[in-house]
């Protein structure tokens, strides 16, 4: 899998040896004089295809870390390498495109633009990913089938779907550009336990079958058995040490 964008990322050969995520001496504080630093991570990496459960209480810097991995925030110091691409070396525009093409994101809720149809939502993601997909329709059909979504949902408005359906459509949307990395942030907290288990099953099955690297963020330790690795943010973040109450 070669990332098609940006051009200067081509030099970085993405083979099995390249880590999906690589943090080195990461230090982050929000801009502003009186801002306390949030993250100080000496070293952390995630191998490609790994399924990682990242946990930590709210306020521990999880959101900040996700923003850094997605290239929305830039590290104050140190490096954030995603798929061999140093994000800090890219312009803001290039980071946005990199994110669109290589990282799929699923939130706790509000994953779809409510006033657009399901199809429009997915097409919008494809539009930003700029992947010329000849087989767009069949990709969606496959994903819909894999996630047990009915094809008739495609024309429905996103806010007419149930919460469970919305979360599964969110996975379709996140995967439509065939991203190497899938970041999932508290995706199950809006679901009841039956739906939650079903959701976890399809999520893991689909990332397994596509070889995606999965970063799953949650404070719900009951879900940790689904994952290869469980990482506590306070273990890797020096500033968060001792703050973990979960």
């Amino acid at each position: 899998m070669q990332p098609s964008f940006p051009e200067n990322a081509k030099s970085a050969v993405l083979d099995e040896a390249t880590a999906a995520i690589m943090l080195e001496n990461l230090y982050f504080a929000y801009p502003g004089k009186r801002q306390e630093p949030v993250l100080d991570i000496p070293e952390w990496h995630i191998a490609q295809g790994d399924h990682v459960f990242l946990r930590g209480p709210s306020g521990s810097g999880k959101s900040t870390l996700l923003n850094l991995l997605a290239g929305i925030l830039v590290a104050t110091r140190g490096t954030v390498e995603v798929l061999g691409q140093e994000l800090g070396a890219l312009s803001a525009r290039e980071r946005d495109r990199f994110r669109a093409a290589h990282i799929g994101i699923v939130f706790q809720q509000f994953n779809l633009i409510p006033y657009l149809s399901v199809l429009d939502n997915i097409q919008l993601a494809a539009y930003f990913g700029r992947k010329k997909q000849i087989d767009f329709d069949s990709t969606i059909k496959q994903l819909f089938a894999a996630l047990a979504l009915d094809d008739s949902l495609i024309t429905k408005k996103a806010n007419h779907l149930s919460v469970g359906q919305q979360q599964r459509v969110a996975i379709v949307r996140a995967l439509v550009n065939a991203p190497e990395i899938l970041i999932v942030d508290e995706p199950t907290s809006a679901l009841d336990s039956d739906l939650r288990d079903a959701f976890m099953d399809v999520l893991l099955a689909i990332s397994q079958s596509r070889g995606s690297t999965l970063i799953f963020v949650s404070h719900d330790t009951a879900l940790s058995h689904y994952f290869h690795h469980v990482v506590n943010l306070s273990e890797i973040n020096r500033l968060g040490a001792g703050n973990d109450v979960s």
Binding site: S63, N67, I113, Y115, D120, A125, D185
Partner: protein
């Protein structure tokens, strides 16, 4: 297309507030365009009413008053000019032609103008266009009448119809000249000026119907037969005003002074162009006030639009975070808000222009009947283009407030969707 699709559905999703903002913007644009159009048209209408007339002469009064009653048939004359004075001044070798005008009677709210056939030969309007007949010819008999185009259309008169004139002005006069009906012998082509709103009879005819009147009251039981009228001298004793065409423009001020210093009675001669300029100067303050008010109305409605978009951002925070998550740049978010503002304003412009076109269609006849002002249909011209660019520039400028706010929001909040 994806971009516009998103915006279209986003606006549709908030159609309640968007519709209110749209209405407010449309009304303000309607007011602005309407004021400008009517201002423009009123000027045009006034300017084209009189052409080729060098001097307007009447009894001494205000310059504007004379212009208004003699040319625009608004208001009333304060005094008359003696027939002898008129003959004497008209006989001046510097004068090429004169058109006497005698006012005071009406027919169903339309004014009757007593004049001579010279009216049809010498009167000019617009770009020096002479009057012409759509049917018939100028009056030649004592009780012949020529009618203006609007009047013919509105009252449905045709050639050879009989008309009874009323003494004095006003829609419902009780003192009718019903002893001597007039016969329609000519209908003028439309001119788009007050000419279309009047009836024209000979000075003699006007004199004849007033023979048995004293102080504006008909003396009963004294009807003069046509035969008897033929023997009487029907030369009028006075006229209301007269229009003068000179042989040479060079003598205009000379003749004007001559008339203004006429020793036998106090007269006033005015140059219609100068009087019109004075009129515009007087109206200037009002025009500018109207303009200022309509600009302020526009500003406040655009500000309202900007406030609407700004307050919508509160509920769109997660939407913005989502856009960012799927790879939209902050600029994309900025453009969504700006385009929404622009789209609402553009729709407002279309609605306003449509409404203006329709309301002018409705108002046209009302304005003509009541004020003698002719308003052309709304047309797109360079001035409109200027106003529209001003509106669009204002929209983009005020749209910056919510758009920049959304831009900053997309940078600041990032993926944090939990409030």
């Amino acid at each position: 297309m994806m971009f516009l699709n998103v915006i279209w559905h986003s606006l549709l999703n908030r159609k309640g507030t968007v519709l209110l903002a749209l209405i407010s913007v449309a009304i303000s644009i309607f007011v602005l365009l309407g004021v400008e159009h009517i201002r423009h048209q009123a000027k045009e209408s006034f300017n084209k009413t009189v052409s080729g007339v060098d001097l307007v002469v009447g009894a001494r009064t205000g310059q504007l008053n004379l212009l208004l009653y003699a040319v625009f048939r608004m208001g009333n004359a304060t005094n008359n000019i003696a027939w002898e004075s008129y003959r004497e001044l008209a006989a001046d070798p510097k004068v090429a032609w004169t058109i006497p005008i005698s006012l005071g009677d009406s027919h169903r709210g339309f004014r009757v103008v007593g004049t001579t056939q010279d009216y049809f030969t010498h009167f000019r309007f617009g770009q020096n266009t002479p009057l012409s007949f759509s049917q018939g010819q100028p009056f030649s008999q004592l009780f012949d009448v020529v009618i203006g185009a609007d009047l013919a259309k509105k009252l449905g008169y045709r050639l050879n119809d009989e008309i009874i004139l009323a003494h004095g002005l006003g829609q419902a006069s009780f003192s009718l000249h019903d002893d001597h009906p007039f016969k329609v012998v000519g209908i003028l082509r439309p001119t788009g000026t007050p000419v279309d709103q009047a009836l024209y009879v000979s000075l003699q005819g006007m004199e004849a119907i007033h023979l048995n009147w004293r102080n504006g009251v008909k003396i009963p039981a004294r009807k003069t037969s046509l035969d008897a009228l033929a023997e009487r001298d029907l030369t009028p004793k006075s006229i209301t005003a007269f229009l003068v065409g000179l042989k040479s423009k060079m003598t205009t001020f000379h003749v004007q002074r001559q008339i203004n210093t006429y020793s036998k009675e106090p007269l006033l001669a005015i140059l219609p162009g100068i009087a019109l300029t004075e009129l515009w100067q007087m109206m200037g303050v009002m025009e500018n006030t109207l303009r200022l008010i309509s600009l302020l109305v526009l500003f406040s409605s655009l500000l309202g639009l900007s406030v609407m978009l700004l307050s919508s951002l509160r509920e769109r925070r997660r939407e913005i975070a989502l856009f960012r998550a799927i790879g939209a740049s902050p600029f994309f978010v900025f453009m969504i808000i700006q385009t929404e503002a622009l789209l609402i304003t553009l729709t407002g412009v279309l609605v306003a222009m449509l409404a203006l076109t329709m309301s002018i269609q409705f108002a046209q006849s009302f304005l003509v009947e009541n004020y003698g002002v002719f308003i052309d249909s709304f047309a797109f011209n360079s001035e409109t283009l200027g106003i529209l660019s001003l509106i669009l520039a204002g929209t983009l400028l005020l749209g910056l407030i919510p758009a920049l706010s959304a831009y900053r929001m997309s940078l600041h909040y990032g993926l944090a969707t939990r409030s």
